[in-house]
């Protein structure tokens, strides 16, 4: 079943000396349980695409559908119910002054389910003790796993991963990718996995979208 669809999405940024292209006429679909890879050089529009999909910036043209219904123009606060992001900047994904317990449970609307939190932490090999620490006391890998915990705790079935391994060392990258694979199966997640590492994406993803200068390359 088709979970997410974007059609002819275009977002350009006005800039001195002409327009800066974010993405132009980008279309994609994401099937339930699928992992879609998005590859492209730096500046090719990968992050812009994810931000458009998450409703953080509004495209000048195009349409967005979740389960067949348009959600273009909805606020990120609403979109976050079915879709969450994991960012490249692991530590920067958490408020430096907030303990992890509070940051990680922000996605929860209503009561926090302690059992669910424990289960997620266990699956992601995170100690509960880390919940009482602040992000700068955690490693980059731990922060990324916390980021996944936060994304899933709110019940989202779709993850948008924006170069989540780029800032990590090779060993930590592999661990994170393995965990993501496990989580995907265990939680039946659908994932858009953005990376500039074509080999990684081809190994990991069911389909690959190649971006160049904001456009999809066939």
């Amino acid at each position: 079943m088709e979970l997410l669809r974007g059609a002819h999405l275009t977002k350009t940024f006005p800039e001195a000396g002409g327009e800066q292209i974010g993405i132009r006429d980008v279309s994609f679909t994401l099937q339930e349980g699928e992992m879609l890879g998005v590859v492209g050089e730096s500046g090719s529009g990968k992050s812009t695409l994810l931000r458009v999909i998450a409703g953080l910036i509004r495209p000048q043209e195009g349409e967005l559908f979740y389960q067949g219904k348009s959600y273009l123009g909805k606020r990120p606060q609403e979109i976050g119910r079915f879709l969450q992001m994991v960012f490249q900047d692991a530590q920067g994904s958490f408020d430096p002054r907030m303990i992890m317990r509070r940051s990680v449970t922000e996605t929860v609307r209503g009561e926090v389910n302690g059992a669910e939190l424990s289960e997620l932490l266990e699956r992601l090999r995170l100690s509960e003790k880390l919940l009482d620490k602040k992000p700068l006391e955690l490693s980059g890998g731990e922060c990324q796993r916390m980021s996944i915990t936060r994304a899933l705790l709110g019940g989202a079935q779709i993850l948008l991963c924006d170069e989540i391994t780029s800032a990590l060392d090779v060993k930590t990258q592999q661990e994170l990718v393995e965990l993501l694979k496990e989580m995907r199966l265990a939680k039946k997640l659908s994932i858009i996995f953005v990376s500039h590492d074509l080999d990684l994406v081809e190994e990991l993803c069911d389909r690959v979208l190649l971006l160049q200068d904001g456009k999809v390359q066939k």
């Binding site: 953080l56 490249q88 922000e106």
Partner: protein, 261 residues
């Protein structure tokens, strides 16, 4: 570490003196005594007496209260107003930001002394005119700083994460932006204490700050400067008080800045 302790201790002593001036002062700071005019420092009058026979030591102690409380009050109000407006402008941007920042610019262009004189003319002088005049430009500096910090914080991934988590703008401002804003702004506020004390004393010296006979360091120097040669202690001690206080709070500001960096 020791340097830090010394300045913190100094600041605490200054605040303590300001709060307990009434307990420490050996004499009533307003009490004149025709028999004891311009007495040099002695046991009963450690800083001597002025042209009306008032105890300079007691007046310097009470002056700490006048000057410090005025400076703290002014900075606190400017801080709160500037912080709120700057944060809202930085977070929401757009038209409101453009308008508010233009208004702020206007305030910045206002000549402090002229406003102080005008307000003194309308309200009949006193400290309030000086404080309003100084506050009119001070809040703008806090607003600019709050705005630029908010703008930087807003770009952080954790703000995006909070939005996707369903958190409202109010929640994000109160629980993510404000706490991350306070340390840099408080540092700035602390470094402002010194210059604010100079500004308040300066205005009082010019006669548009506190009114006589209220003890205030700048006003005391102003009153006593005519007979500087006859009774230099009347100028020396309030001047030392100003210098010491300004250095103390500047050092504290520097320490906080180092901690932040």
């Amino acid at each position: 570490m020791t340097r830090k302790r010394i300045w913190i201790a100094f600041a605490l002593i200054l605040v303590g003196v300001a709060l307990c001036a009434g307990l420490i002062a050996p004499h009533d700071p307003y009490e004149t005594n025709a028999a004891l005019i311009r007495l040099a420092p002695c046991r009963a009058y450690p800083f001597g007496t002025d042209q009306l026979g008032r105890c300079v030591f007691s007046r310097v102690l009470y002056g700490a209260r006048t000057t410090l409380s005025a400076a703290f009050f002014l900075i606190a109000i400017s801080f709160v107003i500037g912080c709120m407006i700057g944060m809202l402008c930085g977070y929401f941007g757009g038209i409101a930001d453009g308008i508010l920042m233009r208004i702020a610019n206007l305030f910045l262009a206002l000549p402090q002394m002229v406003i102080a004189i005008v307000i003194a003319g309308i309200l009949g002088g006193g400290l309030s005119g000086a404080l309003i005049a100084l506050g009119a430009t001070m809040w703008v500096h806090f607003a600019y700083q709050a705005r630029s910090h908010t703008y930087m914080i807003k770009q952080q991934a954790y703000i995006t994460a909070a939005r996707l988590s369903g958190k409202s703008s109010l929640y994000i401002c109160l629980y993510h932006i404000l706490p991350n804003l306070l340390l840099p702004l408080a540092t700035n506020a602390l470094t402002q204490i010194g210059s604010t004390i100079i500004a308040i004393s300066g205005m009082s010296f010019l006669g548009i700050g506190v009114e006589v006979p209220k003890p205030e360091w700048g006003a005391m120097i102003s009153e006593a400067r005519a007979y500087l040669q006859l009774a230099p202690w009347c100028v020396l001690f309030p001047a030392l008080a100003i210098i010491l206080t300004v250095i103390t709070f500047n050092e504290l500001g520097d320490l906080l800045m180092e901690k932040e960096a």
